[in-house]
Symmetry: C2
Subunit: 318 residues, 2 copies
């Protein structure tokens, strides 16, 4: 169970790891709305310290002078750590989180993929870990400059499987603070379900966008490619089912229809690939494949896409 009595404090304090499209927006909104937020920055540290953070958002553009750090060792203890960089940077996550362990914080993992919360749970324990799926169009357009275009909801669930079906205290506390900062929050009774439902989009559209060098509209406007996207979604649903999670046909149809109506959109994985950055292949494809196989189901198409991405990634790296 969650151990701190956060309800006794008016406003929880936050550490935000990563000041990109996700951490810059949500951490910025928390700070703007009066919360104590400490940002760990890497490439943009100097800019953030000298020029501050600029957030353009339909909620109202704002600038602020964040409390920004280059070394986790200098950061204070907080009530909640938000992990908002990409999973490709997770190698260092365990040691970083260990710094915060004395205060037993809630850790909210705002990343794509499946089972990406394990590293955090190893440090602070399953019961203090939350996962969040972000549904937003937001980009970092320059150092310390975030452009939030549309949407923004975070669906939050408990990593602790013994709490499946419940809205626990940690979710209530973090959810209340984020809502107070004008962020749309959904507290979900099953983290696994929101993760798999997001994977049903991320696996086909992140994966195929790289394998086919195509944006969402190029995929949806081609008969063969859109059929392949649908077949991959059905295989994600079958993988989820093997893991005890239902992703219904109506969810698949809704995602296909929504994607068909979207403006042409280059997935984050395609942008990473085109920029020569590492792709979130393991979080978005590798982990779901391993989970499905451990439950006795081999997702052949997803595995094929995974191998193609591994090949493209290692060729890009040479």
């Amino acid at each position: 169970m969650y151990e701190r009595d956060l309800a006794s404090k008016d406003r929880p304090t936050f550490a935000v790891l990563g000041v990109g499209a996700v951490g810059g927006l949500y951490g910025g909104l928390l700070a703007k709305n009066g919360y104590e937020v400490h940002f760990l920055a890497r490439s943009d540290f100097d800019h953030l310290q000298s020029q501050g953070l600029q957030v353009d958002t339909p909620l109202g553009d704002f600038q602020l002078r964040p409390q920004v750090y280059q070394e986790v060792a200098h950061m204070p203890q907080v009530d909640c750590v938000i992990v908002s960089w990409k999973t490709t940077a997770n190698r260092d996550l365990g040691p970083l989180l260990a710094h915060f362990a004395p205060s037993k914080p809630i850790v909210l993992v705002l990343q794509n993929g499946l089972n990406i919360e394990q590293a955090a749970a190893d440090v602070v324990g399953d019961a203090s870990v939350l996962g969040g799926c972000c549904f937003l169009c937001s980009n970092k357009v320059g150092p310390g400059h975030i452009k939030h275009l549309d949407y923004g909801r975070i669906a939050i669930g408990a990593f602790d499987r013994t709490q499946e079906g419940q809205i626990n205290d940690a979710m209530e506390v973090v959810g209340a603070a984020l809502s107070d900062a004008r962020i749309e929050i959904l507290l979900a009774p099953s983290l696994a379900e929101i993760r798999w439902k997001k994977l049903a989009w991320n696996i086909p559209f992140n994966g195929l966008s790289v394998a086919l060098s195509a944006d969402t509209s190029a995929i949806m406007n081609d008969q063969a490619a859109s059929q392949l996207a649908e077949e991959l979604m059905i295989e994600v649903a079958a993988s989820a089912q093997a893991c005890g999670v239902t992703v219904g046909r109506e969810h698949i149809d809704k995602m296909l229809n929504d994607t068909r109506k979207m403006v042409p959109y280059a997935s984050s994985m395609l942008l990473d690939f085109q920029a020569g950055r590492p792709m979130e292949i393991e979080a978005i494809l590798g982990n779901p494949i391993r989970a499905a196989k451990a439950s006795g189901f081999t997702p052949a198409r997803i595995e094929m896409l995974y191998r193609q991405l591994c090949f493209l990634d290692s060729r890009a790296r040479r």
Copy 2:
């Protein structure tokens, strides 16, 4: 059954449809060795008529003045028609072959893929149709100029399924002529088996070379891509098995090993794609998929590769 008494003639006469890497080499060897060969040419007609055919081959370079035609209507009746252009040109095959129907010729289909003999069988009847798998390195390097680098064996089988397990008269007659022209010939008791065994290479290596923009050595030297090639081979074998044909594990291992030892090789499908020509997607992937599905097996990986190729092809065509 095969109806003409070819044994009564010393030397069968040939029509060769397509003067490319296959038709130019094999037709050229037949002509050079004294056989009456009539070539139907398209793009190279003028060059072949004015400059002749040049064949560079380890068997001994040669030049000849072929009997070349631009219109099938002007061609004489023959004992054997060799179809040696790519399956992507097969749309016109029925009407062309109808010209030769009066003499009830043998039709030898030297193309890649599965069930590509049906158009010929519709005109001359199953019993007169042979399929051949060519194992050769040969390229058309210029108009009327064929460069044969290595290998050259043709495995020939009967299209008529009632003759499964037999070496029929048509095979004997055509095989004897080709052997006499110094071409290595294997008369195979099962056309389906030689077709599926060749597909076990063609499907992964033609398909992946285009999907990954990679030659054979780039595929075999990468762990993920070589594993994918192997998984595709296993799926070809499972598809064959569903159709009653055994492609054994030892055949897969041999092909993987042979490919690993090969010099880097850009598949014909990759060359076609890079040159903006149509690819043999239906013959090499579409037909095997349909055959497997009709037998109750869905080859998920091959189907996924097929859909990717269809997407890439239609994008290239726009």
